[in-house]
Each structure stands twice: as structure tokens, then as C-alpha cells.
């Protein structure tokens, strides 16, 4: 065990829980800045306007509803990670290029860094944390472990979400389908061949082959 790890253990505060604490504090500050929803007259009807301070919305994440106040500028990945503490979804480039932040929204995989949280209201959001059911990992997750389809693991949640989305829509993909499905997920370690193997194997397990 390294010295750094010993220190963490002694203080009784892991890196993750320390970061969570900091995140909570800053979120608390943001909320005090206030915000409201108002309506602006437009012809006979009025347009809903959310002020920069934000509004309370309900997000359905992995089947569970969360009510929270968000500013219009908060992206979905920021809210998932910093407010709901679902840190499985990663931020890589924060510009939609790497796919580390991939989640499934209403049955479509999207980069959650380019989606405003406010736009996800009323939609069904699935993240990596929602794949495990009653202590049992999703076949794609099991398959990634079995085929060693990761090295550093940073791209893995996004890679798994794109793969799961593929199998949701196409239970019997071929290699070309799998390659196509994970085009938007970059892996700097280059584990693509094992990812392809893992997804193809998971599709066979799904069908009980």
C-alpha cells in the first residue's frame, strides 16, 4: 500500500467522498442564487420562460424520479454527476467528441455533455448505474469483464451504454453493426477488438445460445 493510500485510510475520507462533499457545498451555493419560471405574452398564448437562476424539474433516472432545481445552463452530465452523484457517467472532452458521457434518453444513446438537463425533463434516462438488476450485472457488463474489454476503464461506461443501446434495438448484431454502434466512443487504450468480442458474446448470451 502506498503512503498516499494510507493517509486516505487514516483520515477516514476517501477521495470520492471528499469530492462529493465539495460538490454538495458548491451546489448548495448555486441554489441560493434564486430563480423562477415566468410567462411572457406572445399573441394570445404565453411562452414559458425559465430565468437564469433556474427552476425545479423532475428527472427520471434509472426508473427513479428526482426533483431538483437546475439552472438552464447545467448539462445533463453535470446534474447526473454533481447533483445526483451518479458518477459512473464520465466527462471526457465535454464537447460531444469522445462519448465518455453517453447515456440512453428515451431509447436513444446521446452525449449527455451536449444535452441540457432541463431538456431531459419528462424523458426516461438510463445510466450505467441502472443496468444492474437485483444484484445481477447486465449481460453486456458481464461480457466486458469476461472478455477483458477495458484497460483504464474511463471510456467503459459510455462504451457499455452504446453497446446496450445497440442490443436493445438489434438483439442479433454482426461485427459491422457493433463497430457502427460504438463509433462515437473513443478508447485511448485501444481495446476495441475486445469490446467487439464482448458485445457479440453478450448478444449470444441474451438469446441463450
Amino acid at each position: 500500500m502506498t503512503k498516499k493510500n494510507q493517509l486516505t485510510k487514516e483520515s477516514g475520507l476517501s477521495r470520492r467522498s471528499f469530492l462529493k462533499g465539495v460538490g454538495l457545498t458548491s451546489a448548495g451555493l448555486a441554489v441560493t442564487s434564486g430563480g423562477e419560471i415566468f410567462a411572457e405574452a406572445s399573441g394570445d398564448a404565453s411562452v414559458k420562460i425559465i430565468s437564469p437562476g433556474g427552476a425545479t424539474i423532475t428527472l427520471e433516472v434509472n426508473g427513479k424520479k428526482h426533483q431538483l432545481k437546475v439552472e438552464p445552463r447545467e448539462t445533463l452530465v453535470e446534474v447526473l454527476r454533481d447533483r445526483l452523484h451518479l458518477t459512473g457517467t464520465k466527462i471526457g472532452c465535454d464537447r460531444g467528441a469522445c462519448g465518455a458521457c453517453t447515456v440512453i434518453v428515451d431509447g436513444k444513446n446521446v452525449t449527455s455533455c451536449l444535452m441540457l438537463a432541463i431538456d431531459a425533463e419528462g424523458k426516461s434516462i438510463e445510466t450505467i448505474e441502472g443496468l444492474e438488476k437485483e444484484g445481477e450485472l447486465h449481460p453486456v457488463q458481464k461480457s466486458f469483464i469476461e472478455y477483458d474489454a477495458l484497460q483504464c476503464g474511463f471510456c467503459t461506461p459510455g462504451m457499455i451504454m452504446s453497446s446496450k443501446n445497440l442490443l436493445d434495438h438489434n438483439p442479433s448484431p454482426n461485427l459491422a453493426d457493433v463497430k457502427h454502434a460504438v463509433r462515437g466512443n473513443l478508447c485511448r487504450c485501444g481495446t476495441y477488438p475486445k469490446v467487439f468480442q464482448a458485445v457479440l458474446a453478450a448478444s449470444k448470451q441474451n438469446k441463450g445460445e
Partner: protein, 333 residues
């Protein structure tokens, strides 16, 4: 990102009135907009979210048999639209090779046409470039491999980022632009603005105007089209060269060809030289190569991108061959 107010109109009149507010911009998929805001290139004080407007998601037939595609259809929806196979296949081909599956699920047709150039000097707030109202084009003497090969003498050597616009120009598509007072149809070629017209503008849309639909003319008998994008990493990348073509072909003979190059100039570049080579001729591998050479004879490469002119030559020849039903990789002829 800067703080902003968020307007959520439910129909087009509401959207048009919500955007009449200083610092307001439309947001559809938000892909390019959020990118520009994160980079600090723009800081709108109000976003008008138009993605909830059902009227912008409609697909309908026009009176003369054309197809009107709602501006809020996603790129993924366009890539998979069955009505677009056959003569109009260049459009789904371009849509399918745009960005990644995740981006295609968010980005819209209208937003794609309004997106800004990918020029890295433009997208870096530290460079006050001519397209942002500054005094010089940094790419001209800088890193310009991905910059313009044509129309690059007007003080900004950016290239247009929309692959879909290349296919739409080849197919003669128009945009229906609506304001509170009126509605007009403008060709995609006229919609996009070159630096020689206005160095700071990318398109002609004014505040208070919205793209309602993209209108494809009815396909002609024996019409065919093809689009291909050559990338450095073919799975997902920006183009090194992209080409869209369309023509009527009877008995192997090409009539009324359009040859459009993307990532080649600040706006979709129409190669009249290539079209002149093809018109009235039987499509062969040799003719395709001749047309490609004619197209690139007009190129004026920058300090770093002469190599891309060679890539273009190969891609143009292949796309013409593929569209004409000829194997570009066969020996001889």
C-alpha cells in the same frame, strides 16, 4: 457556460416572438450552440428552445411531388428515412456519415445547416480572427491543412462544416424561411454566405427568421445521386475531402450533372469544370478521372493543404464512378 434565460415556445409564432429579445438565439439540438458557448465564442442571454415545436418535425409531400422535411428532424432520422433512398440517396449518405451516433440522435437538420465552421482559430476565443470581426485570418499563415482549397482569397479561409449542405446543394434543395410577416424559399446555395459577400456571416438568417423546412424537389426519372466523405479515421472524423453528385442518366449518358465539393471552400463548392466534362457523355472510369482533374485544376492550395487536392481528385473520380454505376477500382478504361 454563461448564464442565460430559457424560453420554451410551443409553436412557430411563439418562437418568433420569443427570439425578438436582445441577446436571444434559437436552440434546436444545441450541439454546435453549446460547443460555441462552452468555448466562450458566443454568450447569448436567452436561448429559445425550439425542439418542442411539433410543426418543425413534420415530413410532407409538396404539391409538385417534392419532399418537405421539418427542420427539427434529427440527423439520425434523416439517415434512416426510407423516402430518401434512390435518386435522393446522397442526403441519407451525408447524414449517416455526419458525426457520431450519439450526436446524430441530438442534432437537427436545420441546426446542421446553421453550424459554424470548425476552423480552430475561429473556435479559440484567444484569436480575434476576421470571421469573428477581427483584422486577420490566422489560418492563412498558420495551421491550414483542413482549410479552403477554393475561394480562399477573401480574408477568411474557413471551410463550411455541414456535410448535409453538400448533398442538399447537389440535389437542388431549398429552405423554407419563415418570419412573423412572411415565408420565402431560398436555395441552400444562396443560404450560405461566402467571405467575399460578408466575412462575419455564415448564413443569411436574420433575427426573427426561422428555418421551417428543407424542401427537396421531386426526383426526375433516371435521376441518381451519390455522396462520399473521406476521413482520416473513417469511423468518425471531419472530412479530408467530401463530394456529392447528382444527374439524370439514360443509357449510361449523363445529363445535367451537379458536382459539389465539401470541406473545400467557405461554402459548398460547385465545380462547373467537372460538370462540363461530364455533361452529355457516357460515364466511364476514365471520364470520371478527367472530370476530377478538371475540378482540381482550379484549386489554389494554401501553404499546408496541397496534398488534400490530390485526395480530392481521387474522391471525385470515385464518387462520379459510383454514381454512374462504374467500378472505380477496375483495371483500365
Amino acid at each position: 457556460m454563461n448564464k442565460f434565460e430559457y424560453a420554451m415556445p410551443q409553436d412557430i409564432p411563439q418562437a418568433l416572438s420569443s427570439v425578438q429579445h436582445s441577446g436571444a438565439v434559437f436552440k434546436a439540438g444545441g450541439v454546435d450552440l453549446l460547443d460555441l458557448m462552452k468555448e466562450g465564442i458566443i454568450a447569448p442571454s436567452r436561448l429559445v428552445h425550439i425542439n418542442n415545436i411539433e410543426a418543425l418535425k413534420v415530413i410532407s409531400r409538396t404539391k409538385d411531388g417534392g419532399l418537405a422535411l421539418g427542420a427539427n428532424l434529427t440527423i439520425a432520422e434523416i439517415a434512416e428515412l426510407r423516402e430518401l433512398s434512390g435518386a435522393h440517396q446522397a442526403l441519407p449518405q451525408a447524414a449517416g456519415s455526419t458525426a457520431t451516433p450519439q450526436i446524430r440522435n441530438l442534432a437537427t437538420l436545420g441546426g446542421n445547416l446553421c453550424q459554424e465552421t470548425r476552423c480552430w482559430y475561429f473556435r479559440d476565443q484567444n484569436f480575434s480572427c476576421s470571421h469573428k470581426g477581427g483584422s486577420q485570418c490566422f489560418a492563412l499563415q498558420g495551421e491550414n491543412y483542413y482549410h479552403a482549397l477554393f475561394d480562399n482569397k477573401s480574408g477568411c479561409v474557413r471551410v463550411n462544416a455541414s456535410s448535409i449542405s453538400i448533398a442538399l446543394v447537389a440535389l437542388g434543395a431549398k429552405l423554407r424561411i419563415t418570419s412573423a410577416e412572411s415565408s420565402r424559399d431560398v436555395s441552400v446555395a444562396e443560404f450560405l454566405v461566402a467571405p467575399s459577400q460578408d466575412i462575419e456571416k455564415t448564413h443569411i438568417l436574420e433575427r426573427g427568421e426561422i428555418i421551417e423546412a428543407i424542401i427537396l424537389p421531386a426526383s426526375k426519372p433516371h435521376q441518381r445521386s451519390f455522396y462520399y466523405k473521406q476521413k482520416e479515421k473513417q469511423s468518425f472524423d471531419w472530412p479530408v475531402a467530401e463530394v456529392a453528385v447528382s444527374w439524370v442518366q439514360k443509357g449510361g449518358v449523363c445529363e445535367n450533372p451537379t458536382v459539389i465539393l465539401g470541406a473545400a471552400a467557405p461554402t459548398p463548392w460547385r465545380s462547373k469544370k467537372a460538370e462540363a466534362v461530364l455533361a452529355g457523355q457516357k460515364i466511364t472510369k476514365k471520364l470520371a478521372e478527367k472530370a476530377a482533374q478538371a475540378a482540381m485544376s482550379e484549386a489554389t492550395p494554401l501553404s499546408q493543404n496541397a496534398n488534400r487536392a490530390k485526395v480530392f481528385e481521387a474522391v471525385i473520380a470515385r464518387v462520379i464512378s459510383w454514381a454512374g454505376g462504374v467500378d472505380p477500382l477496375q483495371e483500365g478504361k
